[in-house]
Amino acid sequence: MTQNLIVTPSALMFAIALVVIALLLNFKEKIGLEKDMIIGVVRAVIQLTIVGYVLTYIIKVNSVFLTLLMVLIIIFNAAWNAKKRANGMHNAFWISLLAVTVSTGTTLVLLVLARAIKFTPSQVVPVSGMIASNAMVAIGLCYRNMNSSFHDLRQPILERLALGANLKQASSGIVRNAIKTGMAPTIDSAKTVGLVSLPGMMSGLIFAGVDPTKAIMYQIMVTFMLMAATSIASVIACYLAYPNFYNSDDQLI
Protein backbone atom coordinates (compact mmCIF):
# COMPACT_ATOMS: atom_id res chain seq x y z
CA MET A 1 0.00 0.00 0.00
CA THR A 2 2.85 2.38 0.84
CA GLN A 3 5.03 1.59 -2.15
CA ASN A 4 3.88 4.78 -3.90
CA LEU A 5 4.79 6.90 -0.91
CA ILE A 6 8.56 6.99 -0.94
CA VAL A 7 9.98 10.49 -1.26
CA THR A 8 13.74 10.07 -1.32
CA PRO A 9 16.10 12.69 0.15
CA SER A 10 17.34 13.36 -3.39
CA ALA A 11 13.75 13.98 -4.55
CA LEU A 12 13.39 16.45 -1.68
CA MET A 13 16.59 18.22 -2.77
CA PHE A 14 15.06 18.69 -6.20
CA ALA A 15 11.93 20.05 -4.54
CA ILE A 16 14.08 22.84 -3.11
CA ALA A 17 14.01 24.19 -6.65
CA LEU A 18 10.39 25.09 -5.94
CA VAL A 19 11.49 27.17 -2.94
CA VAL A 20 14.10 28.85 -5.13
CA ILE A 21 11.38 29.79 -7.64
CA ALA A 22 9.33 31.33 -4.81
CA LEU A 23 12.41 33.22 -3.55
CA LEU A 24 13.25 34.53 -7.02
CA LEU A 25 9.70 35.78 -7.52
CA ASN A 26 9.89 37.40 -4.12
CA PHE A 27 13.16 39.21 -4.99
CA LYS A 28 11.92 40.29 -8.39
CA GLU A 29 8.69 41.75 -7.03
CA LYS A 30 10.47 43.24 -3.96
CA ILE A 31 7.90 41.67 -1.62
CA GLY A 32 10.41 41.51 1.23
CA LEU A 33 9.38 38.11 2.53
CA GLU A 34 12.66 36.31 1.77
CA LYS A 35 13.73 36.19 5.44
CA ASP A 36 10.34 34.78 6.53
CA MET A 37 10.36 32.28 3.69
CA ILE A 38 13.83 30.97 4.55
CA ILE A 39 12.95 30.79 8.26
CA GLY A 40 9.71 28.99 7.31
CA VAL A 41 11.52 26.43 5.14
CA VAL A 42 14.26 25.77 7.73
CA ARG A 43 11.72 25.47 10.56
CA ALA A 44 9.47 23.16 8.53
CA VAL A 45 12.41 20.85 7.77
CA ILE A 46 13.65 20.78 11.38
CA GLN A 47 10.20 20.51 13.03
CA LEU A 48 8.95 17.82 10.68
CA THR A 49 12.14 15.79 10.95
CA ILE A 50 11.92 15.84 14.75
CA VAL A 51 8.19 15.04 14.67
CA GLY A 52 8.85 12.19 12.24
CA TYR A 53 11.31 10.53 14.62
CA VAL A 54 9.20 11.30 17.71
CA LEU A 55 6.06 9.82 16.11
CA THR A 56 7.97 6.74 14.98
CA TYR A 57 9.10 6.22 18.57
CA ILE A 58 5.64 6.88 20.08
CA ILE A 59 3.93 4.53 17.64
CA LYS A 60 6.53 1.84 18.31
CA VAL A 61 6.30 2.14 22.11
CA ASN A 62 2.47 2.42 21.98
CA SER A 63 2.16 3.85 25.51
CA VAL A 64 -0.98 5.63 26.74
CA PHE A 65 1.15 8.03 28.76
CA LEU A 66 3.35 9.01 25.81
CA THR A 67 0.31 9.37 23.53
CA LEU A 68 -1.42 11.67 26.00
CA LEU A 69 1.80 13.63 26.52
CA MET A 70 2.07 14.18 22.77
CA VAL A 71 -1.58 15.34 22.66
CA LEU A 72 -0.88 17.77 25.53
CA ILE A 73 2.18 19.17 23.73
CA ILE A 74 0.05 19.72 20.60
CA ILE A 75 -2.65 21.46 22.70
CA PHE A 76 -0.07 23.63 24.49
CA ASN A 77 1.51 24.74 21.20
CA ALA A 78 -1.90 25.47 19.66
CA ALA A 79 -2.87 27.62 22.67
CA TRP A 80 0.49 29.42 22.59
CA ASN A 81 0.06 30.27 18.91
CA ALA A 82 -3.60 31.33 19.31
CA LYS A 83 -2.50 33.68 22.11
CA LYS A 84 -0.24 35.54 19.68
CA ARG A 85 -3.32 36.76 17.80
CA ALA A 86 -4.80 38.23 21.00
CA ASN A 87 -2.83 41.47 20.74
CA GLY A 88 -1.80 41.53 24.39
CA MET A 89 -5.20 40.55 25.76
CA HIS A 90 -5.05 39.66 29.47
CA ASN A 91 -5.19 35.90 30.20
CA ALA A 92 -5.22 35.08 26.47
CA PHE A 93 -2.98 32.04 26.91
CA TRP A 94 -5.13 30.48 29.64
CA ILE A 95 -8.35 31.19 27.74
CA SER A 96 -6.82 29.63 24.60
CA LEU A 97 -5.52 26.64 26.55
CA LEU A 98 -8.95 25.97 28.03
CA ALA A 99 -10.69 26.41 24.65
CA VAL A 100 -8.25 24.14 22.79
CA THR A 101 -8.23 21.52 25.57
CA VAL A 102 -12.02 21.32 25.88
CA SER A 103 -12.64 21.32 22.13
CA THR A 104 -9.90 18.78 21.36
CA GLY A 105 -10.69 16.65 24.42
CA THR A 106 -14.45 16.51 23.84
CA THR A 107 -14.11 15.73 20.15
CA LEU A 108 -11.42 13.12 20.73
CA VAL A 109 -13.34 11.37 23.50
CA LEU A 110 -16.49 11.25 21.37
CA LEU A 111 -14.57 9.83 18.39
CA VAL A 112 -12.93 7.15 20.53
CA LEU A 113 -16.20 6.27 22.31
CA ALA A 114 -17.99 6.05 18.97
CA ARG A 115 -15.15 3.78 17.76
CA ALA A 116 -14.55 6.10 14.84
CA ILE A 117 -10.88 6.00 15.80
CA LYS A 118 -8.88 3.68 18.03
CA PHE A 119 -6.90 4.90 21.02
CA THR A 120 -3.58 4.16 19.40
CA PRO A 121 -0.85 6.75 18.85
CA SER A 122 -1.00 6.39 15.07
CA GLN A 123 -4.65 7.55 15.11
CA VAL A 124 -4.98 9.75 18.21
CA VAL A 125 -1.92 11.94 17.60
CA PRO A 126 -2.67 12.97 13.97
CA VAL A 127 -6.38 13.48 14.71
CA SER A 128 -5.52 15.61 17.78
CA GLY A 129 -3.20 17.68 15.61
CA MET A 130 -5.97 18.25 13.08
CA ILE A 131 -8.50 19.25 15.72
CA ALA A 132 -6.13 21.45 17.73
CA SER A 133 -4.79 23.28 14.68
CA ASN A 134 -8.30 24.09 13.46
CA ALA A 135 -9.30 25.20 16.97
CA MET A 136 -6.17 27.36 17.07
CA VAL A 137 -7.01 29.08 13.79
CA ALA A 138 -10.64 29.60 14.92
CA ILE A 139 -9.56 31.12 18.25
CA GLY A 140 -7.03 33.37 16.51
CA LEU A 141 -9.72 34.64 14.15
CA CYS A 142 -12.07 35.22 17.08
CA TYR A 143 -9.46 37.31 18.93
CA ARG A 144 -8.63 39.35 15.86
CA ASN A 145 -12.30 40.01 15.11
CA MET A 146 -13.03 40.96 18.71
CA ASN A 147 -10.07 43.33 18.89
CA SER A 148 -11.12 45.19 15.77
CA SER A 149 -14.84 45.22 16.67
CA PHE A 150 -14.28 46.55 20.19
CA HIS A 151 -12.15 49.27 18.60
CA ASP A 152 -14.40 50.14 15.64
CA LEU A 153 -17.75 49.81 17.45
CA ARG A 154 -16.75 51.74 20.55
CA GLN A 155 -19.58 54.27 20.32
CA PRO A 156 -22.46 51.74 20.01
CA ILE A 157 -21.04 49.76 22.94
CA LEU A 158 -20.85 52.92 25.05
CA GLU A 159 -24.44 53.73 24.10
CA ARG A 160 -25.59 50.29 25.25
CA LEU A 161 -23.68 50.60 28.52
CA ALA A 162 -25.14 54.07 29.10
CA LEU A 163 -28.62 52.61 28.70
CA GLY A 164 -27.87 50.16 31.53
CA ALA A 165 -26.90 47.08 29.52
CA ASN A 166 -24.66 44.64 31.37
CA LEU A 167 -21.37 43.61 29.80
CA LYS A 168 -22.84 40.54 28.13
CA GLN A 169 -25.76 42.53 26.69
CA ALA A 170 -23.43 45.31 25.50
CA SER A 171 -21.07 42.83 23.82
CA SER A 172 -23.50 40.20 22.52
CA GLY A 173 -23.43 41.38 18.88
CA ILE A 174 -19.64 41.48 18.82
CA VAL A 175 -19.32 38.09 20.51
CA ARG A 176 -21.76 36.52 18.04
CA ASN A 177 -19.88 37.98 15.07
CA ALA A 178 -16.53 36.83 16.43
CA ILE A 179 -17.85 33.27 16.85
CA LYS A 180 -19.16 33.37 13.26
CA THR A 181 -15.77 34.59 12.04
CA GLY A 182 -13.97 31.84 13.96
CA MET A 183 -16.17 29.15 12.44
CA ALA A 184 -16.34 30.58 8.93
CA PRO A 185 -13.30 28.77 7.44
CA THR A 186 -14.54 25.39 8.73
CA ILE A 187 -18.06 25.97 7.42
CA ASP A 188 -16.76 27.26 4.07
CA SER A 189 -14.48 24.29 3.63
CA ALA A 190 -17.32 21.93 4.62
CA LYS A 191 -19.42 23.49 1.85
CA THR A 192 -16.74 23.12 -0.79
CA VAL A 193 -15.09 19.91 0.33
CA GLY A 194 -14.67 17.56 -2.64
CA LEU A 195 -15.64 20.33 -5.07
CA VAL A 196 -12.73 22.69 -4.57
CA SER A 197 -10.34 20.90 -2.27
CA LEU A 198 -9.56 17.28 -1.56
CA PRO A 199 -8.56 17.76 2.05
CA GLY A 200 -5.52 16.34 3.80
CA MET A 201 -7.05 13.29 5.43
CA MET A 202 -8.77 12.10 2.26
CA SER A 203 -5.82 12.94 -0.01
CA GLY A 204 -3.45 11.12 2.34
CA LEU A 205 -5.54 7.96 2.32
CA ILE A 206 -5.92 8.03 -1.47
CA PHE A 207 -2.14 8.60 -1.74
CA ALA A 208 -1.64 5.54 0.45
CA GLY A 209 -3.80 3.51 -1.93
CA VAL A 210 -7.06 3.39 0.04
CA ASP A 211 -10.24 3.14 -2.02
CA PRO A 212 -11.61 6.73 -2.42
CA THR A 213 -15.09 5.58 -1.36
CA LYS A 214 -13.57 4.51 1.97
CA ALA A 215 -11.41 7.63 2.18
CA ILE A 216 -14.49 9.85 2.02
CA MET A 217 -15.90 8.17 5.13
CA TYR A 218 -12.89 9.42 7.05
CA GLN A 219 -13.18 12.83 5.48
CA ILE A 220 -16.84 13.09 6.49
CA MET A 221 -15.83 12.22 10.04
CA VAL A 222 -13.09 14.88 9.93
CA THR A 223 -15.57 17.48 8.65
CA PHE A 224 -17.97 16.71 11.52
CA MET A 225 -15.27 16.72 14.17
CA LEU A 226 -13.79 20.00 12.95
CA MET A 227 -17.21 21.66 13.04
CA ALA A 228 -17.70 20.52 16.62
CA ALA A 229 -14.18 21.50 17.65
CA THR A 230 -14.16 24.97 16.09
CA SER A 231 -17.59 25.82 17.47
CA ILE A 232 -16.66 24.68 20.99
CA ALA A 233 -13.31 26.52 20.82
CA SER A 234 -14.82 29.73 19.40
CA VAL A 235 -17.64 29.87 21.94
CA ILE A 236 -15.34 29.27 24.92
CA ALA A 237 -12.68 31.72 23.71
CA CYS A 238 -15.15 34.51 22.88
CA TYR A 239 -17.23 34.26 26.04
CA LEU A 240 -14.14 34.19 28.24
CA ALA A 241 -12.33 36.91 26.30
CA TYR A 242 -14.93 39.69 25.99
CA PRO A 243 -14.79 40.77 29.69
CA ASN A 244 -11.15 41.69 29.03
CA PHE A 245 -12.35 44.72 27.10
CA TYR A 246 -13.91 46.19 30.27
CA ASN A 247 -12.35 47.35 33.53
CA SER A 248 -13.35 46.47 37.10
CA ASP A 249 -15.84 49.39 37.12
CA ASP A 250 -17.68 47.77 34.17
CA GLN A 251 -16.48 50.49 31.81
CA LEU A 252 -15.18 50.03 28.28
CA ILE A 253 -11.38 50.22 28.28
Partner: protein, 216 residues
Amino acid sequence: MSTLFKLTDLGFATSERNILNQINLTIDAGDSLTITGPSGSGKSTLLRIMATLLTQTSGQILYQDQPVSRYDPFAYRKEVSYCFQQASLFGDTVYDNLSFPYEIRNQAFDEQRALDVLSQVELGPENLHKPITELSGGEKQRVALVRNVLFTPKVLLLDEVTTGLDADTKAIVHHFIDHLNQHHDVTLIAVTHDETEITTAQHLITLTNGSLEVPA
Protein backbone atom coordinates in the same frame (compact mmCIF):
# COMPACT_ATOMS: atom_id res chain seq x y z
CA MET B 1 -35.71 69.59 47.67
CA SER B 2 -33.42 66.68 48.56
CA THR B 3 -29.82 66.53 47.42
CA LEU B 4 -29.41 64.08 44.57
CA PHE B 5 -25.72 64.51 43.69
CA LYS B 6 -22.91 65.81 45.84
CA LEU B 7 -19.53 66.13 44.16
CA THR B 8 -16.58 66.76 46.49
CA ASP B 9 -13.13 67.73 45.20
CA LEU B 10 -13.83 65.69 42.09
CA GLY B 11 -10.87 65.40 39.73
CA PHE B 12 -9.98 63.48 36.60
CA ALA B 13 -6.50 63.22 35.14
CA THR B 14 -4.93 61.21 32.36
CA SER B 15 -1.21 60.51 32.09
CA GLU B 16 -0.96 63.62 29.88
CA ARG B 17 -3.07 66.22 31.65
CA ASN B 18 -5.60 67.17 34.30
CA ILE B 19 -9.06 67.33 32.79
CA LEU B 20 -11.09 68.15 35.91
CA ASN B 21 -9.78 69.85 39.05
CA GLN B 22 -11.49 69.80 42.43
CA ILE B 23 -15.08 70.16 41.33
CA ASN B 24 -17.45 70.82 44.23
CA LEU B 25 -21.10 70.78 43.27
CA THR B 26 -24.49 69.93 44.75
CA ILE B 27 -27.45 69.08 42.55
CA ASP B 28 -30.96 68.75 43.96
CA ALA B 29 -33.59 66.27 42.82
CA GLY B 30 -35.81 67.79 40.15
CA ASP B 31 -33.21 70.43 39.28
CA SER B 32 -32.42 71.51 35.75
CA LEU B 33 -28.73 72.34 35.58
CA THR B 34 -26.96 73.65 32.51
CA ILE B 35 -23.18 73.29 32.20
CA THR B 36 -21.31 75.39 29.68
CA GLY B 37 -17.72 76.29 28.95
CA PRO B 38 -15.19 76.28 26.15
CA SER B 39 -14.39 73.11 24.20
CA GLY B 40 -11.99 70.83 26.09
CA SER B 41 -12.93 72.27 29.46
CA GLY B 42 -14.05 68.87 30.80
CA LYS B 43 -17.85 69.16 30.51
CA SER B 44 -18.40 65.82 28.77
CA THR B 45 -15.89 64.13 31.09
CA LEU B 46 -17.86 65.40 34.10
CA LEU B 47 -21.08 64.05 32.63
CA ARG B 48 -19.48 60.69 31.81
CA ILE B 49 -18.19 60.38 35.37
CA MET B 50 -21.71 61.06 36.66
CA ALA B 51 -22.96 58.36 34.25
CA THR B 52 -20.24 55.95 35.60
CA LEU B 53 -18.84 55.53 32.10
CA LEU B 54 -15.62 56.93 33.58
CA THR B 55 -14.30 56.90 37.14
CA GLN B 56 -12.85 60.00 38.77
CA THR B 57 -9.18 59.86 39.68
CA SER B 58 -9.69 61.93 42.85
CA GLY B 59 -12.49 63.15 45.07
CA GLN B 60 -15.90 61.68 45.61
CA ILE B 61 -19.32 61.62 44.03
CA LEU B 62 -22.39 60.84 46.12
CA TYR B 63 -25.74 59.90 44.60
CA GLN B 64 -28.62 59.90 47.07
CA ASP B 65 -26.06 60.13 49.91
CA GLN B 66 -24.18 56.99 48.77
CA PRO B 67 -20.90 56.86 46.85
CA VAL B 68 -21.70 56.03 43.23
CA SER B 69 -19.33 53.04 43.42
CA ARG B 70 -21.68 51.35 45.93
CA TYR B 71 -24.46 51.07 43.34
CA ASP B 72 -24.81 48.24 40.89
CA PRO B 73 -23.53 50.06 37.77
CA PHE B 74 -26.14 48.56 35.44
CA ALA B 75 -29.07 49.49 37.69
CA TYR B 76 -27.55 52.95 38.27
CA ARG B 77 -27.13 53.62 34.53
CA LYS B 78 -30.78 52.73 33.95
CA GLU B 79 -31.70 55.35 36.55
CA VAL B 80 -29.13 57.99 35.57
CA SER B 81 -29.41 57.94 31.80
CA TYR B 82 -26.72 59.48 29.61
CA CYS B 83 -27.59 60.73 26.15
CA PHE B 84 -24.64 61.23 23.79
CA GLN B 85 -23.83 64.12 21.50
CA GLN B 86 -24.58 62.92 17.96
CA ALA B 87 -25.89 59.63 19.30
CA SER B 88 -25.24 56.66 17.10
CA LEU B 89 -28.13 54.29 16.62
CA PHE B 90 -27.42 50.57 16.49
CA GLY B 91 -29.00 47.67 14.62
CA ASP B 92 -30.95 48.23 11.41
CA THR B 93 -34.21 49.95 12.33
CA VAL B 94 -35.69 52.36 14.86
CA TYR B 95 -37.38 49.32 16.41
CA ASP B 96 -33.98 47.70 17.12
CA ASN B 97 -33.10 50.76 19.20
CA LEU B 98 -36.39 51.17 21.01
CA SER B 99 -36.73 47.48 21.86
CA PHE B 100 -33.25 47.44 23.42
CA PRO B 101 -34.26 49.03 26.77
CA TYR B 102 -36.92 46.30 27.10
CA GLU B 103 -34.50 43.57 26.09
CA ILE B 104 -31.98 44.49 28.79
CA ARG B 105 -34.77 44.48 31.41
CA ASN B 106 -36.10 41.13 30.15
CA GLN B 107 -39.45 42.73 29.39
CA ALA B 108 -41.71 42.46 26.36
CA PHE B 109 -41.57 45.45 24.02
CA ASP B 110 -44.39 47.91 24.74
CA GLU B 111 -45.24 49.21 21.28
CA GLN B 112 -47.92 51.62 22.48
CA ARG B 113 -45.50 53.24 24.91
CA ALA B 114 -42.85 53.54 22.18
CA LEU B 115 -45.34 55.14 19.75
CA ASP B 116 -46.53 57.55 22.48
CA VAL B 117 -43.03 58.75 23.27
CA LEU B 118 -42.13 58.96 19.57
CA SER B 119 -45.17 61.18 19.03
CA GLN B 120 -44.00 63.45 21.87
CA VAL B 121 -40.92 64.25 19.79
CA GLU B 122 -43.13 64.58 16.70
CA LEU B 123 -42.13 61.32 15.06
CA GLY B 124 -45.10 59.43 13.64
CA PRO B 125 -45.80 55.69 13.99
CA GLU B 126 -44.44 55.06 10.46
CA ASN B 127 -40.98 55.67 11.91
CA LEU B 128 -40.98 52.64 14.20
CA HIS B 129 -39.84 50.18 11.54
CA LYS B 130 -37.89 52.68 9.45
CA PRO B 131 -34.27 51.75 8.60
CA ILE B 132 -31.96 54.03 10.55
CA THR B 133 -30.13 54.88 7.32
CA GLU B 134 -33.26 56.72 6.15
CA LEU B 135 -33.38 59.03 9.18
CA SER B 136 -32.10 62.61 9.18
CA GLY B 137 -29.64 63.77 11.86
CA GLY B 138 -32.45 65.42 13.83
CA GLU B 139 -34.61 62.30 13.65
CA LYS B 140 -31.72 60.12 14.81
CA GLN B 141 -31.09 62.36 17.80
CA ARG B 142 -34.77 62.26 18.76
CA VAL B 143 -34.89 58.46 18.46
CA ALA B 144 -31.81 58.27 20.69
CA LEU B 145 -33.52 60.51 23.24
CA VAL B 146 -36.67 58.37 23.13
CA ARG B 147 -34.46 55.29 23.68
CA ASN B 148 -33.19 56.92 26.89
CA VAL B 149 -36.60 57.77 28.32
CA LEU B 150 -38.88 54.83 27.40
CA PHE B 151 -38.36 53.85 31.02
CA THR B 152 -38.46 57.28 32.65
CA PRO B 153 -35.08 57.79 34.33
CA LYS B 154 -34.54 59.78 37.54
CA VAL B 155 -31.75 61.77 35.93
CA LEU B 156 -31.11 62.63 32.31
CA LEU B 157 -27.54 63.60 31.42
CA LEU B 158 -27.63 65.42 28.10
CA ASP B 159 -24.32 65.89 26.31
CA GLU B 160 -24.86 68.64 23.72
CA VAL B 161 -27.85 66.78 22.36
CA THR B 162 -29.10 69.75 20.34
CA THR B 163 -25.80 70.50 18.61
CA GLY B 164 -26.25 70.55 14.86
CA LEU B 165 -30.06 70.46 14.97
CA ASP B 166 -32.22 72.98 13.12
CA ALA B 167 -34.30 75.48 15.09
CA ASP B 168 -37.57 73.51 14.77
CA THR B 169 -36.04 70.23 15.96
CA LYS B 170 -34.29 72.07 18.80
CA ALA B 171 -37.64 73.45 19.92
CA ILE B 172 -39.20 69.96 19.87
CA VAL B 173 -36.33 68.54 21.94
CA HIS B 174 -36.44 71.46 24.42
CA HIS B 175 -40.17 71.08 24.90
CA PHE B 176 -39.79 67.32 25.39
CA ILE B 177 -37.06 67.49 28.02
CA ASP B 178 -38.67 70.43 29.84
CA HIS B 179 -41.86 68.40 30.04
CA LEU B 180 -39.93 65.47 31.56
CA ASN B 181 -38.44 67.83 34.14
CA GLN B 182 -41.67 69.60 35.06
CA HIS B 183 -44.19 66.75 34.91
CA HIS B 184 -42.13 63.63 35.62
CA ASP B 185 -39.56 65.06 38.07
CA VAL B 186 -36.66 64.04 35.87
CA THR B 187 -33.53 65.87 36.98
CA LEU B 188 -31.79 67.37 33.96
CA ILE B 189 -28.07 67.98 33.70
CA ALA B 190 -27.25 69.34 30.27
CA VAL B 191 -23.97 70.32 28.68
CA THR B 192 -24.38 72.94 25.98
CA HIS B 193 -22.82 75.62 23.82
CA ASP B 194 -26.19 76.84 22.60
CA GLU B 195 -26.77 80.54 23.38
CA THR B 196 -30.55 80.15 23.85
CA GLU B 197 -30.11 77.22 26.23
CA ILE B 198 -27.53 79.22 28.20
CA THR B 199 -29.71 82.33 28.49
CA THR B 200 -32.84 80.37 29.45
CA ALA B 201 -31.03 78.05 31.90
CA GLN B 202 -32.59 77.59 35.34
CA HIS B 203 -29.17 77.01 36.92
CA LEU B 204 -26.01 77.64 34.99
CA ILE B 205 -22.44 76.70 35.82
CA THR B 206 -19.36 77.27 33.72
CA LEU B 207 -16.34 75.02 33.46
CA THR B 208 -13.04 76.53 32.36
CA ASN B 209 -9.88 74.44 32.08
CA GLY B 210 -11.45 71.74 34.20
CA SER B 211 -12.39 74.05 37.06
CA LEU B 212 -15.74 75.39 38.09
CA GLU B 213 -16.03 79.13 37.59
CA VAL B 214 -17.50 80.80 40.61
CA PRO B 215 -20.22 83.28 39.58
CA ALA B 216 -19.28 86.87 40.31
